[in-house]
Symmetry: C2
Subunit: 141 residues, 2 copies
């Protein structure tokens, strides 16, 4: 049973995630945005016209969570939903207000990112990105 204690990757990943999420949460608090909101806002900004289902599968965020979070961002006026031929779906796009919000959030994000990078040793952030990329590919296939 000591094997769980000594090797469990679930526990370790969670520990890692909490440590890093806490840092981001602290820095983002004054902006009023949550980490998930920043993630979705950024993803929409980087992939104009992306659809909720793509956000969900690419970021591994539950589709219901995406639905509710994007709804709120639409209410805030940061995102707009463009209708598409497929009547079940829509395309998400940043509004000017959404882009402005991202600009506003950037310094806090950057400070958090720097703090996390300082917390990790030199190669570890690259390893982390590499692992995440690996997972992304595995999920995509």
């Amino acid at each position: 049973m000591g094997e769980i204690e000594s090797r469990c990757l679930g526990t370790r990943t969670r520990l890692l995630e909490r440590a890093i999420a806490n840092i981001f949460a602290r820095h983002l608090k004054p902006t009023g945005l949550r980490d998930t909101q920043v993630t979705l806002l950024t993803a929409i900004g980087a992939h104009d016209g992306i659809r909720p289902s793509e956000l969900s599968s690419a970021l591994l965020i539950e589709k219901s969570t995406v639905s509710r979070t994007v709804d709120k961002m639409i209410e805030h006026g940061w995102v707009e939903a463009l209708s598409v031929p497929d009547g079940r779906s829509y395309e998400a796009r940043l509004t000017n207000a959404g882009r402005a919000k991202l600009v506003e959030v950037y310094p806090a994000w950057s400070a958090a990112q720097t703090e996390v990078e300082d917390l990790l040793s030199n190669n570890q952030h690259d390893q982390l990105r590499s692992i995440a990329r690996h997972i992304t590919r595995a999920v995509a296939s």
Copy 2:
């Protein structure tokens, strides 16, 4: 702004955590235990007499979450609380039922662990453990 999209360690860590947590959740479901419960049960088993505050700081789980989760495990009869000189705290210890529960859970945990290791490439699980150890030390100091 593309920098957030391309480099954010918060997003990447969360993605990683979700991917792995989903695998563990799926395997653990039949046992009726959540990942956090397994983590706490295992930690108590490995560190007999550990206190809630120590569980919280070592595992980066909120003290309130530890409190409620341990309460439930006590109700299930898996953990017992031993009183200590310091009247504010107590020592947590596994009961025989708790040890039996761990034995019962082990196969599911092991299957999940194997699936995660298969998902990652050769060195990545070691890198992940290394990073988690690094974080643990940073937090402890």
